[in-house]
Symmetry: D2
Subunit: 292 residues, 4 copies
């Protein structure tokens, strides 16, 4: 298929490469054009603008950074030029409110809209092993299903409404943040009683919590090393904000999200926004007067 | 070896049976004697009192319910009659403060003291597949190691100080409670946006969180069924209290533990203390005005 | 002076009347025109549109409900038609972000902008006894000072920057909400131990806290009566949201504001949004299993 | 009357002096005897032990520091030697649990027990202008009423049960702590937006909150000066602990108390335990990255 791919951050690069490897004709666009160079060698066309990238495309993917970027690029430049019948697949983690707005604006333009947020870090994206949530009109999802399978170890069907996949993604990121904060507090507790974070978290990772989230982030907390960042604290803060906004809309009290928010503000104030978001653990340690 | 085993609750029954199966001479005691009957058939002697149960024992295990029971039975009846050189293995989840006190009183009496709290629910205990944390004087731990291995899939050595295993156990139980509360809030969020708890949690259990805690408790939350209880909410409340007390002693702020505490009080007020502690999820749902 | 007054809610009615009594030529506008009738008898002209209300005015006041209304009416209809040199006095409780935006747009149009939020309930506004915070360019504030004094028992000068009065107003409303939640929790505590809220709060009001906030809201909590509402819970929720937004912008962790937010969501879920915001106390009572 | 007065801290000194001035025969005891010297000049007898201090007394007052001191001195040394019919007046801020225990032990010994905790700082105690809460058997309260009036601007009758005055005192101290934390957060918010704590709090103290608690503690926060301490943070921490314990017993969730607890732990970790408890404001400022 002819595919336009918008947004080549650390995730988008690997994802678009997998679409190319799958035999598709992919035109890419990124604000910083240099990032696209390696993809050219793999067979991508590189467009000079978002509108050019999606010209003639049957399916348009985006992996942009946040609501503002999606709003500017997709609503501003892409959607107005898409031909009726095109399908737009959004991989970015966006707000429930924007997902709702996109669903409506796409429908009005006769363009299909599939929500397809992903779980997985850059190396997982490059390996085509993401966990991908997909929701949207069944016919649209079915049509892009082969593309999604090129990106994912598993595609999780989440139903007809595009906001469904979005809210599951947001809920999942909240759970990651909550696990980080919980490990941080528990590790501060054991450290204060003379048990190293490493000794404690190793037991946890191998008994109650043998799961990627506890292994990856717990490993960083155990080593007190948060660089290089797989996912930056400043982005985690944004995602907790998406959970809080979605909660407020439907009046869902989330006191752990409130705790996370306040701790993350403190973390940003420490200057830790560019650390991996496991670096949030430094706040719990500092509050307990434990050395970093 | 000649073993005294004190406390035959849902965990102790299976644990003492595994010691018998291992070829040891086990005398058991339980406040409600009838519980001991099945063990008699397996070869246990049944004592009429704690003191009788530990007479002539080389090693004494206890799996009592809480600080009060350990204080009464062990400090009150058992320790005074133990011969010098006996080793006492405590499996109960007790406070750091009591562990410290036990370490001192045992030392003064020339009795060995091994902290050996466990992770695992009753069926895991019966199968001899617990995760067991062990700390204490190396010679004492070494001597009871074969016994511990009869109880556990793995024995995790936690060092010389008996309080070390205790604080790791307490930290672990806090992490379970925090995961329950976090899942409860996240599920309330997705439900409020039209995604069933089951649909959300199934993705979580199979992607980010393929761990027993998320599977077992997440499964209960997904089904909104909390009976029969594997671990009662009232006991979970007690254990979060142990974490909070241990945190206060060393001045460790634990805001997620505070959130848990307040939610659990509300849960007890709802009359949910005998539910499995995953039943805490009902509080988050009620606060969000979602039907149970 | 010739004054345009926009927004005749329960506060604006009394405030505009006091400007008329002060001898000024006041033209009023309100979305629901009938509200303006009594003011006509007192000498007001009633305009058919915001633009008409401010035509020829030297000073324009508004007491609109929230950001959305100010944005629509002031930015949409009023500011474009104001003559250079006019001064706009904003009494509405708005966000820091909107105050900043208003400051800039007014400056660009050559219109003066004075932030003048007020503390006080409708009967206090009618009596001209508000506490009024004023910030803005000194010359502008000086020019409207005689008008402000007609409205207020005291005008509190807050400096040159229009956002200063706004942030003080927002901080004050947060403090009121925090006092309500604190009284609610404390009263639940004493009630659970057999001391009526009334007995407890009466002591507080007459010893440690002989202040209007504790008297008015404490009185409502003591009587468990929240109607008629002096200030609705739904509006209080909005104002706590302004505090939280202003805090997030500058990365100020406010855990008490987080507690307030979560309790207020629960309160709205109970259907209590139209009660006076002291009705938030019902949440603390319900959580503690105390009857309303 | 013949009075024994136990405990001459900064409060007890002034209180016992007022009983002497009232014409009573007062024998005092304090652990550090030197403190009693000035009282000797005013007419007090100084006892060498608590038992000696209460010998022949009709009424015994104590103003000891905490549960541990009351338990040791009153239950350990005083109660066993009191003659039947004596009345014991407890001014110390103690736990609800200990108040309950004292009520029972006194009753069993035929000794009257009046709970009489006070609000007021040392200079207020010296001036005999405390607010004093009194609960106990009506006949006992009536008999000591003239003594209480020597100590207080007002005696607040709180009913028959001695725990009633205690729980009101504890609830009141929680409200003070909550007001401090709330002011601290609000001041951090305004400071982050360029408004000094002083400018903000001065408005609050003179408009919404013209109450001693906001004036005294708000004044300290405005000046960022917390010495000399009128009431130490470490003592405030103890009192918040009394509220939390009383809340737990009756299952009253108090999320603001949880926030206070966690902030106070952090404050103690900063080394601020000997500051006035308004010094808690430093935590909110530090979390927001504002200089002290």
């Amino acid at each position: 298929m002819r595919i336009g791919f918008i947004g080549l951050g650390s995730m988008g690069v690997g994802m678009s490469a997998n679409l190319i490897k799958g035999g598709h004709e992919v035109t890419v666009w990124n604000r910083t054009a240099s990032v696209a160079e390696p993809l050219k060698a793999q067979g991508a066309k590189v467009a000079a603008s978002p509108a050019e990238a999606v010209q003639g495309a049957e399916v348009v993917h985006n992996m942009l950074a946040n609501d503002a970027a999606v709003r500017e690029v997709i609503l501003g430049s892409v959607l107005p030029v898409l031909a009726e019948g095109t399908i737009h697949v959004n991989h970015a983690t966006i707000s429930v409110a924007l997902a709702q707005e996109l669903a409506e604006t796409h429908k009005a333009r006769g363009v299909g809209f599939v929500s397809a947020p992903v779980f997985g870090r850059p190396e997982v994206a490059a390996a085509g092993q993401l966990n991908l949530l997909a929701s949207g009109a069944p016919a649209d999802v079915a049509r892009v299903q082969p593309l999604l399978e090129l990106l994912a170890a598993k595609v999780w069907p989440m139903g007809d409404d595009p906001i469904r996949a979005v809210v599951v993604k947001i809920g999942g990121n909240f759970l990651i943040g909550a696990a980080i904060e919980s490990m941080a507090e528990a590790a501060a507790l054991t450290r204060a009683h003379g048990v190293d974070a490493k000794d404690f978290l190793e037991v946890m990772q191998n008994t109650l919590f043998p799961a990627p989230v506890y292994k990856i982030y717990g490993g960083m907390i155990a080593a007190d090393r948060y660089e290089p960042a797989g996912f930056k604290l400043s982005l985690g803060f944004k995602d907790v904000g998406l959970a809080r906004a979605a909660a407020e809309t439907k009046r869902v009290p989330m006191p752990v999200a409130s705790v996370l928010h306040d701790a993350m503000l403190e973390s940003l104030n420490r200057g830790d926004g560019d650390l991996d978001w496991a670096g949030l653990a430094r706040v719990a340690a500092a509050r307990a007067n434990l050395k970093g």
